[in-house]
Symmetry: C2
Subunit: 138 residues, 2 copies
């Protein structure tokens, strides 16, 4: 089973986001284990990410991927232990971006980091369904 | 006030999505009026969109925009009466895409149409905040 750490600034305050995340957590049971790590500031983000050997930085300046490309990277390139870093309103510290194995841009649109969390989760779930060839992704 | 129609296939079933939409509806009060129109099939989608003179089709094959570009288009190009069409799992009917004033791709990622609804709403709210120069978008 793939084990993912998702390191992010600021807790989940919106009820709707908590519910959406709980829904995807349920769907991911037995398929992927996502551990959410909440940090308070850039210093903690740097500390929490520096031991990660496979680190994906969510960054507007990164490369965009289709869902199929993400699935391919996840299953053939990145391996089963990886960490995603999602910055706050100011983005990620330069040091984290520099260290990252891959800089991933979800879209040229700017999203709240709450929405970025939802998109990451849904795309990871979708990546699994793409790999399985299920009807979720068609 | 900008009046937007958002024409979409399938109702909102997820509680979390309904809550998120209610939250943005509240925030948009007095700024933008979004009318959600739910259709059941392609035929209804074609019927509901054919009288729209300014129609934006959400389409993976369309052009991507930054949030700033979307805001600019909304306030200087598209005018105050417009409609967005969001397809179901199979995307929009070719006729609707052909008729559209603009084909907009949110991202190279595939999203559920529920998530597309949330992203559209948040980006419209963000577009207003960009135009106002508020701190929501920085």
């Amino acid at each position: 089973m793939i084990k993912v750490k998702a390191i992010t600034v600021g807790r989940c305050k919106e009820t709707w986001l908590a519910e959406a995340m709980a829904e995807y957590k349920k769907r991911l049971t037995g398929k992927m284990d996502i551990e959410w790590i909440f940090v308070e500031n850039d210093g903690e983000m740097i500390a929490k990410t520096e031991k990660e050997s496979l680190l994906i930085a969510l960054d507007l300046g990164g490369k965009m991927l289709s869902s199929e490309e993400l699935s391919h990277k996840l299953f053939t390139e990145w391996g089963s232990r990886l960490a995603f870093a999602i910055g706050g309103a100011e983005g990620l510290p330069a040091e984290v971006i520099r260290r990252a194995t891959f800089r991933w841009s979800l879209s040229p649109l700017t999203f709240t980091h709450q929405i970025a969390r939802l998109l990451l989760t849904e795309q990871l779930y979708r990546a699994i369904e793409i790999e399985k060839g299920s009807s979720y992704h068609k």
